[in-house]
């Protein structure tokens, strides 16, 4: 028998119902940063291929990566990398069954957001200095 009530049944609560929490943000940010880094990954492969081709082509691609648009992508991806790195480490710890207490979830959620910016700043400082 056809389901006459299809589409009219009540749905289980979804994200629009719940109060926003840090773990919702870090969860989706881990996906966004992961997918977002695809652009930088392709640019860096292009840059390596250019280096393997010749100096003129390398200078061209190197110039694109260090143009202001390129630098926004590179530094944005550096933050994404640190965030995804810390989020991934946290996931690995959670795979062993640790860190599920509510206090711990909130603390580490904010901690990886904060640390991602700190590590981005530290690595930009190191890149600029050394």
């Amino acid at each position: 028998m056809a389901d006459v009530n299809r589409g009219k049944r009540p749905l289980s609560p979804h994200i629009s119902i719940y109060r926003s929490e840090i773990n919702m943000i870090t969860s989706i940010l881990n996906r966004i940063t992961g997918v977002g880094m695809m652009l930088a990954a392709i640019l860096i492969v292009w840059w390596l291929l250019a280096a393997a081709t010749n100096e003129a082509y390398f200078d061209f691609v190197n110039g694109i990566l260090t143009s202001w648009v390129g630098l926004i992508v590179m530094f944005g991806s550096l933050w994404a990398l640190w965030f995804h790195f810390l989020g991934g480490l946290r996931h690995l710890v959670m795979d062993f069954g640790y860190g599920y207490e509510l206090k711990s979830v909130d603390f580490w959620g904010w901690a990886i957001v904060g640390l991602s910016f700190v590590l981005t700043a530290v690595s930009i400082f190191c890149l600029a200095t050394f």
């Binding site: 996906r31 992961g34 997918v35 840059w47 390596l48 393997a52 190197n62």
Partner: protein, 126 residues
């Protein structure tokens, strides 16, 4: 009456027949990427914006060349798995799903190979 355990009776009966393989590859590659990412940030990231000669010189070091090749290949395997996970979650409709799964997987395969080849070519002498 059967002497099989509950687990043995239900194994392989889910819609996907198996399910831990992608998850396991994701974990395996993420563990490998911990040191490789740090190595890449340390040895290769500073070369962006540098001169052609500096890049050629850097990959003369076997350590830098090998860790960079491993980083590129494993990062693209990790990326392909992550993209697949996101695509199967959000894309509905069989045709678009298959097109995206095939194109992202092949792109990652190509990119990983291209990056590894570029580093190897420089390392083996331009």
């Amino acid at each position: 009456m059967t002497y099989k355990t509950d687990m043995a009776r239900v194994k392989g009966l889910g819609t996907a027949k198996e399910g831990t393989h992608e998850w396991w590859i994701g974990r395996l590659t993420s563990v490998a990427l911990i040191p490789l990412t740090l190595g890449f940030l340390w040895r290769v990231a500073p070369l962006i914006g540098g001169t052609h000669a500096e890049v050629l010189a850097a990959f003369q070091s076997p350590f830098t060349a090998i860790t960079t090749i491993l980083f590129i290949m494993i990062a693209f395997v990790h990326l392909a798995g992550g993209l697949q996970e996101v695509i199967v979650d959000y894309v509905h409709g069989k045709a678009l799903l298959v097109v995206l799964l095939v194109s992202t997987r092949l792109t990652c395969l190509g990119m990983g190979f291209a990056g590894a080849f570029a580093v190897a070519k420089i390392a083996f002498g331009g």
